[in-house]
Symmetry: D2
Subunit: 147 residues, 4 copies
C-alpha cells in the first residue's frame, strides 16, 4: 500500500523531467514504402534512453559494468502517428513514467524537429536482471538518477 502510494507520487514527480535528443534518419532505416521501417523506432527509443541517462548524470555502459545489472526490456509499444522519412531530423523526448523496485518504465515522443509534427509515441518497460538473467532490485547507487 505504502509502495503503491510512493510509486504514484514518484510517477508524478518524474513527469516534468523530459530529456531531449536528436537523431537524423538514415537511408538504412527506410524501406521500399519510402518511409522509415517500423522496427527502427524502437532503436531510436534506445537512443533516447541512453541520452536520458547521460543527461541525468551517468552513462548506461557504466551502469551495466559497475552494477552487473541489465535493464532488460519486458514490453515495448509504439504508435505511429505520422511517417518519418530519410534525412528527417527528429527530436526524441524521453522520460521515466514509472519507477519501481524492480522495474522502470520509459515514455517517448518522436517529433519532426522543423515542423514540430508528432511522428510517434511509445513506451518501454524494463526489468532489472543480473548477469544470470535473474530479477534483482534496482541498484541503490543509481536510484537517485531516476528520482
Amino acid at each position: 500500500m505504502a509502495d503503491q502510494i510512493s510509486n504514484t507520487t514518484t510517477a508524478q514527480a518524474l513527469s516534468h523531467s523530459k530529456v531531449s535528443t536528436e537523431i537524423r534518419v538514415r537511408y538504412a532505416e527506410t524501406d521500399q514504402m519510402g518511409l522509415v521501417y517500423y522496427a527502427n523506432y524502437l532503436i531510436w527509443f534506445e537512443v533516447g534512453r541512453a541520452e536520458f541517462c547521460r543527461q541525468k548524470g551517468f552513462v548506461y555502459r557504466d551502469f551495466e559494468h559497475d552494477t552487473g545489472a541489465f535493464l532488460a526490456v519486458a514490453e515495448a509499444q509504439c504508435r505511429y502517428h505520422n511517417p518519418a522519412r530519410y534525412d528527417d531530423l527528429l527530436t526524441i523526448e524521453t522520460q521515466v513514467s514509472e519507477f519501481r523496485k524492480r522495474t522502470v518504465r520509459f515514455q517517448y515522443e518522436l517529433i519532426r524537429k522543423e515542423s514540430q509534427i508528432l511522428v510517434a509515441t511509445g513506451m518501454t518497460l524494463h526489468v532489472v536482471l543480473d548477469r544470470q538473467g535473474r530479477p534483482k532490485s534496482f541498484p541503490t547507487s543509481y536510484r537517485h538518477f531516476f528520482l
Copy 2:
C-alpha cells in the same frame, strides 16, 4: 452497430486460423547482453505476416503491386516473456485478430521450437494507405484471403 457486430463475428471466425513459420536467430540480431535485441522481434513479426499471406494464397509483394495499397503500421506492441538467443529455432504463430474496412490487426506468438517455451507475444495494427499515403478501403479483390 451492425458494423460492430460483424467485426466481432469476423474476429471470432479468424481466431482459429493461425499460420506457422520458422526463423533461426542470426548473430546480427543479438546484442552485448547475449540475447536478441528487442527491436528485431518486430522484424520477425513482419516475416510472420509475409508467411501468413503466402499460406493464405497470395504474396504481399503482389498485393502492393496490384492494388497500389500498403498496409502501413499504425501501432505495434510486444511482450518479451523469455529470451531468444543466437541460433535458436523459433516458431512464429501469426493470425489476424481483427479485420475492418480500413484496418487489419495481426497477433503473434513466438515460441522456441524445441522446448516450446513462449518467447514473446505481440500485435501490429495496420491501416490501408494508397501510394500518396492517404487512407483507403481494403482492396476488395484481396478481402477473401483474410476472411
Copy 3:
C-alpha cells in the same frame, strides 16, 4: 615456406566444398530505392557461414562456447552484381577459400533461386580471438571441420 605450400594445397582442396542455403528477403531489408540495402548482404553472409558450419558437422554457437574462441571479422568485401528485391528467394553458396593457423577466409555467392541470376559475390576474412580479444590459434578440435 612449408606453411605456404600446405595453405595453397588446402585452399585448392576446399574449393569444391560449397555449402548452399536459402534466405527470403525481408521488407526490413529493403530501402527507399526499392531494393535491398547494401549492408544487409553482410548479414546474409553470416547466415551462410552459420549454415556452412552446421552442414560441416558443428554449430558455431557451440564453437564459441566450447573453445572460448571467436571468429572476429578482419575484413569484408562485397560486389553487387544485380539487385535483390523484397520477397526474393536467394541461394547463398558459402565456402572456405583459405584456412591458416590464425585466420579463415570465406567466399560467398548470392544467386536469385528462380532465375539463377547472380546477385552478389563477397568475402570475409576472420581472425581467431580469445575472450579477451587476443589472437590465438584455431582450436585444434575444430580444425578437421574446415579441411
Copy 4:
C-alpha cells in the same frame, strides 16, 4: 586517354577534401561478442556519405528527388582494425577518392574520437542509375559538388 588523365587529376585534387562527422554507437549495433556487429560499419559509411554531401552544399535526398538519379552501391569493402564498442563516440572521415562519368568512389576512416585509435577503413563504389535501374551519367548540375 584524355578522360583517364582528367580522372587522375581529379582524384588527386579531391584527396585533401575530407569531411568529418560523428556517430555514437548504439546498443542495437552490438552483438553477443560485446563489440559492434560488422555489417553496421557499412551503415556508418552511409552516414558519412550523407554528411559529405551536406557539408559540400547539397542534401542527398534532394539529389535523388531533383535528378531522378540514384547512387547505387556496386562494391563495398571494410577492414576492421580495432573494435568499436557500445557508446563509443566515433569520427567518420569521408572523402571522394575517384569521380568518373558514371561512378563515384568514397573512402572512409573510422576513428575513436577520444583516443584517436583507428577503428576501420573502407571504400564504397557507386554507379549512377535512373529510376528504372539503368546506368546514366552523373547529373551535370551536381558535378561541381564533387570537384
